[in-house]
Amino acid sequence: MLTGCIKNNAAAQEALYNRFSPRMLGVCYRFAKNREDAEDMLQEGFIKVFTQIHQYRNEGALEGWIRRIVVHTCINILKKNKKFTDSVDIIHATSVHIKEDMIPSIMQAKQVVECIRTLPLGYKTVLNLYAIEGYSHKEIANMLDIEESTSRSQYTRAKAMLEEILIRKKIIQKQRKRTDFYGAVSPS
């Protein structure tokens, strides 16, 4: 399949796409505002994958390599839309209101993902990159053109907010009593 993709064989490309697109769309969905934006990210990501497939050196899993390209594509699209130049998203998104009925009652993995998507864009992006994709704060800072300290602080807040949401939705149990300011929050 890999050889066929390098040779620009359409059947091999389609096979690779069918194999990895469900999971990659899930990755894009966590970054995107809606499904349509997620599919656009996926499309652009796979175009990059196929045009750069010859650079894959069999170092590590192919899925991991594809995933890195897709994540970078998502970040580039978000940056292109000037989301991260708005400092409010990253630095000043402290009072955010989330309503109970914005989070649909869904099951299993999608519950967690949907809860992540309800976070403000800056929180959501940092959380995705750090906790799920495994980037370091230094790498995140370079990708998003922010300070490393900003990345750390945003992650801490995002994690706390998400934890609160998941407890409210009874997806996880409350482990310790929280008395900080994370009450009613609304999206930016």
């Binding site: 966590r30 993995a109 906790a131």
Partner: protein
């Protein structure tokens, strides 16, 4: 990535759940990627259209005129006039068992409405019960592809006590209703979630057949939902409530509704029921191949008896032209693999080519060359003929002789998918076709090449054909259209072994077929 994963359990949970999450993209994503990667590829539709047009023109051009033959000397033909239509009497009886002629009224307006909807398309099922002498006109009418037969028996609507049973049976066998009922259950589950609080209720139609809003039973979906949610014998009393989910009215209403829909699609994709193993792999094809028939004659004489008047190519002494034939039938094909299909079916073949000759005024004594079935040596057999080879006569009435055969064959073959795109596939196939020849006309050239002798008994009954084809398969909704050239060869001579002539015909045609998958 420099960081080590899982600094705490919460992050581990996020990572695990996120990795489990899948979403299936729409088809447009792949199409966009494909078009971006392969901008120069365009399906050669223009070339295939040109090939189709040329082949059709060639077929029409080579089709010669049918000249009236003097049947006094040539004799009657057996053309299979007793081919009857499918057993309409049995069909009439089966349908009579389902429907009756009572005229009871239904007190339930809703059920009666549904019953009428079910019966509407089948109300004209009168059948011609006389199957012994079905003429071609009726046969053509019956084979028009509709269920309207001649108007001998009309069928009344189903009586009330059978309406409910009929609807029950229809609902149970119709997957649409169960799918709608399943979707309704999912909607009900969501309706019970605290995040979606706006649950509206709608009353079922009352005795006057209208619902609360006065829209009546005009929405078939609501009506079928109602039927799916109730047993066959339950009466829908006025005021019964059927919960449905009202649209959410939060600020991000539009995105959530779309996400809800996407989730339902993903859930349905993951949890769809297991279908039959062969479902999606088995196709049925109805096809026809108008073809041009060619033939080449060779001699097969043995021994010291004087052979034909020439030792060269006998075809140089015969004036003949290709004729138009047809191969049509039904095929079943099964997909072994993604690209390979096994095909078999039943095929009717009609072969025909034409010989230019002249009719004489009086019978002429001539001879034909035959082979002794025991020794294999050739000998001359006396015959009389009133048809002269046009090469050797003058000032006589010209006639066109038609050498025809009527065949039934069982093609067994394979089809291999050479290429595939979004809506078009390209196949190549070959088949072996055991064939039974049940009728025909044959004119043998005499040993002196001066006359033609009518010898229908010389036609071999069993033969073997080979078919080779390539075709494009176009997806048209639930059906596929297949078009492509086809060549058919015959393995053995048209004539029996005792005839010292060998005829190996072949046909070149354009196959057109409609395929329906199971």
């Amino acid at each position: 990535m420099e960081r080590i994963f899982y600094s705490d359990e919460f992050e581990q949970l996020l990572k695990e759940k996120a990795d489990q999450f899948r979403m299936y993209p729409s088809k447009r994503v792949w199409h966009s990627i494909y078009n971006n990667l392969h901008p120069s590829r365009r399906w050669p539709s223009a070339a295939m259209s040109l090939l189709l047009i040329i082949t059709l023109h060639l077929t029409g051009y080579l089709n010669t005129n049918d000249t009236n033959i003097n049947n006094q000397f040539i004799g009657n033909t057996h053309t299979g006039n007793n081919i009857s239509s499918h057993n309409t009497a049995q069909k009439t009886e089966a349908q009579r068992q389902v429907f009756t002629n009572t005229k009871q009224q239904s007190p339930n307006a809703g059920l009666e409405y549904a019953a009428k909807a079910l019966v509407t398309n089948e109300s004209e099922i009168s059948v011609n019960t006389d199957v012994s002498t079905v003429d071609q006109g009726t046969l053509a009418q019956n084979n028009a592809g509709t269920e309207k037969f001649s108007q001998e028996n009309k069928v009344s609507p189903i009586p009330d006590n059978n309406i409910v049973q009929a609807i029950d049976a229809y609902i149970k066998t119709n997957q649409v209703f169960t799918d709608v009922a399943g979707a309704n259950k999912k909607v009900k589950l969501k309706a019970s979630s605290p995040s979606i609080d706006n649950i509206a209720e709608e009353e079922t139609p009352g005795e006057n057949g209208k619902n609360k809003t006065g829209t009546g039973m005009s929405n078939p979906k609501n009506e079928f939902n109602t039927l799916a949610n109730s047993s066959g014998t339950d009466k829908l009393a006025p005021g019964d409530k059927t919960p449905i989910v009202k649209k959410d009215i939060t600020p991000n209403d539009k995105s959530l509704a779309y996400e809800e829909k996407a989730w339902i699609e993903d859930y349905a994709f993951h949890n769809k029921p297991q279908g039959k193993k062969w479902k999606g792999k088995l196709d049925v094809e109805f096809y026809a191949t108008p073809a041009v028939n060619y033939r080449k004659l060779t001699t097969a004489s043995k021994g010291s008896t004087a052979p034909f008047a020439t030792t060269g190519d006998i075809n140089q002494f015969i004036s003949q032209k290709p004729g138009l034939g047809i191969e049509s039938g039904i095929d079943l094909s099964y997909a072994f693999t993604k690209n390979l299909r096994l095909k078999t079916g039943v095929q009717f073949n009609y072969t025909n080519y034409n010989i230019n000759a002249d009719q004489t005024n009086h019978p002429v004594l001539t001879t034909v060359l035959l082979n002794d079935p025991i020794t294999g040596y050739s000998y001359l057999a006396s015959r009389t003929s009133t048809i002269s080879n046009s090469y050797n006569s003058s000032a006589l009435q010209p006639v066109v002789l038609h050498n025809r055969t009527y065949q039934i064959s069982i093609p067994v073959g394979l089809a291999y998918k050479l290429s595939s795109t979004k809506n078009v596939d390209w196949f190549a196939g070959a088949s072996v076709e055991p064939t039974y020849v049940f009728g025909g006309k044959a004119h043998l050239i005499s040993s002196d090449l001066k006359s033609y002798v009518y010898e229908p008994s010389s036609i071999r009954n069993w033969n073997l054909g080979f078919g080779f084809e390539t075709y494009m398969s176009y997806k048209l909704g639930a059906y596929n259209l297949q078009v492509g050239p086809r060549v058919r060869f015959q393995a053995y001579s048209t004539y029996q072994r005792n005839v010292a002539l060998i005829e190996k015909p072949y046909a070149v045609g354009l196959k057109v077929g409609i395929v329906k998958g199971f």
